[in-house]
């Protein structure tokens, strides 16, 4: 049982580290605006499947690391991620039984919430102009959710067989 625990921890950490790498991937200028929030998607997956292991503390810590990684004001991703993951953990039992489409809709609103919070904080910092492309990561994030889900499920499956 103990080894099981630690392996889950390793999987979560490595997948989140990879998600952070994807976050700062050097993409061509025209694709940058489409880059979805990989870290949040990964956090949502783990909080839905292993809510007792990847909780709000995880979300907050990795949010803080993302802040440092992308050079933001410290705490803004931490706040957004913690709130979204709180929602996910509260609803995880229902969400697991949702069909893919409904789950996708929920993910869409999660990403929208996080993006809204980020915009809100940015606006307090200094009044920002809202670009239509600011919301693109929400849509692309929803579109790549099935891929994230599938890949992370493959990572987790050996553990669930045990």
């Amino acid at each position: 049982m103990k080894t099981n625990n630690s392996s889950g921890f390793i999987q979560i950490s490595i997948s989140l580290a990879l998600a952070m790498c994807l976050r700062i991937l050097p993409l061509p200028e025209s694709f940058v605006a489409f880059n979805p929030d990989w870290v949040l998607l990964t956090l949502i997956y783990w909080s839905l499947t292993l809510p007792e292991r990847a909780g709000i503390f995880h979300a907050w810590t990795f949010g803080l690391l993302t802040d440092v990684l992308t050079g933001r004001l410290l705490g803004q991703y931490a706040l957004a991620y913690a709130l979204v993951i709180y929602l996910c953990i509260n609803l995880h039992k229902r969400l697991r039984n949702f069909p893919m489409l409904q789950q996708g809709l929920f993910i869409f609103f999660c990403l929208l919430l996080s993006q809204l919070l980020l915009f809100f904080i940015k606006n307090i910092q200094h009044p920002a102009q809202l670009h239509a492309t600011f919301w693109l990561p929400v849509f692309t994030g929803t579109l790549v959710w099935p891929i994230v889900y599938g890949v992370l499920r493959l990572v987790r499956l050996p553990q669930s067989f045990r």
């Binding site: 605006a33 690391l65 410290l74 705490g75």
Partner: protein, 280 residues
């Protein structure tokens, strides 16, 4: 709830005081390796491209570099004479002057921090003595300034970032103004010049040294468009940066000596004495 409170306090503190920087640099120890990891493929591709370069092309490049070196050396010979003359003249005018700057070559990490911001990451940080607000150059002109220095990496804001402004001077006639970033990698804007300003396309803009961050006299941009509308107080002027902002991988971080050299140094004093004797 605790997480929310903690993040809000962090947000407030980060906005108000710089003391939180120690936390940021501690956390960056976990995160900076990721930046190097993401940069790794680019480095590998570049190195393999280097190693499979043919003998012929290397020889050609070597020849070209040697010619360049010769040309620069010849120009430098004249430069040192000019510098001496400048020091002498300034001493006569009882003016202070600044000594040469020290540079550190840093390499760009190909990572993408955030969309809509012209901020790049380089592989030198506070361990090499880099500190915020240092000017950054490349071989052609000013690139930007150090925005945030972490232990192993540092973030550099380019002069084309919409939040960046640099005090400049027209090289032809010494007209002072400010160049603001436009958000496009090949464009700067000069929004504070009146319609009748003496400026025309092709003028070279150099740093004026007024803000205190950038040393005087480095090329910044070339004016390429000047539209004056009679019904508006300010002209619309745009300029193209001299530095290759989107193509260079090597950048130079500059330390400029903040204390000016005393008015008349020992050597110039001697020279002045000589001059006086000659006049007699």
């Amino acid at each position: 709830m605790v997480a929310v409170l903690a993040s809000i306090t962090l947000l407030v503190f980060d906005q108000k005081s710089p003391s939180i920087n120690t936390l940021r640099s501690t956390l960056s120890f976990f995160v900076d390796p990721l930046k190097y990891l993401v940069d790794l493929p680019t480095v590998i591709i570049e190195q393999t491209a280097d190693s499979i370069n043919s003998y012929q092309s290397l020889k050609k490049e070597n020849l070209r570099l040697r010619e360049d070196q010769l040309a620069h050396q010849a120009r430098l010979l004249k430069f040192s004479a000019l510098e001496n003359e400048n020091i002498r003249l300034r001493a006569l005018l009882e003016n202070s002057f600044k000594l040469g700057e020290q540079v550190l070559v840093a390499e760009l990490l190909s990572v993408n921090m955030a969309p809509y911001e012209h901020i790049v990451v380089v592989n030198k940080g506070t361990r090499f003595g880099v500190h915020p607000q240092q000017p950054v150059l490349d071989a052609n002109g000013v690139v930007g300034q150090v925005f945030r220095a972490l232990p192993m990496t540092s973030e550099i804001m380019l002069i084309t970032d919409p939040n960046h402004a640099i005090p400049v001077q027209v090289n032809r006639n010494g007209l002072l103004t400010i160049a603001v970033g436009s958000g496009q990698t090949n464009r700067l804007i000069l929004p504070f010049l009146p319609s009748n300003a003496d400026i025309r396309p092709g003028d070279l803009l150099i740093t004026s040294g007024l803000g205190g961050n950038f040393p005087h006299g480095y090329p910044v941009a070339v004016v390429d468009d000047f539209i004056s509308q009679p019904n508006k107080a300010f002209a619309t002027i745009s300029a193209t940066p001299k530095a290759l902002l989107d193509r260079n991988r090597e950048l130079m971080i500059v330390w400029s000596k903040s204390t000016p050299v005393p008015l008349i140094s020992k050597s110039t004093e001697n020279k002045l004495e000589d001059l006086k004797h000659e006049n007699k």
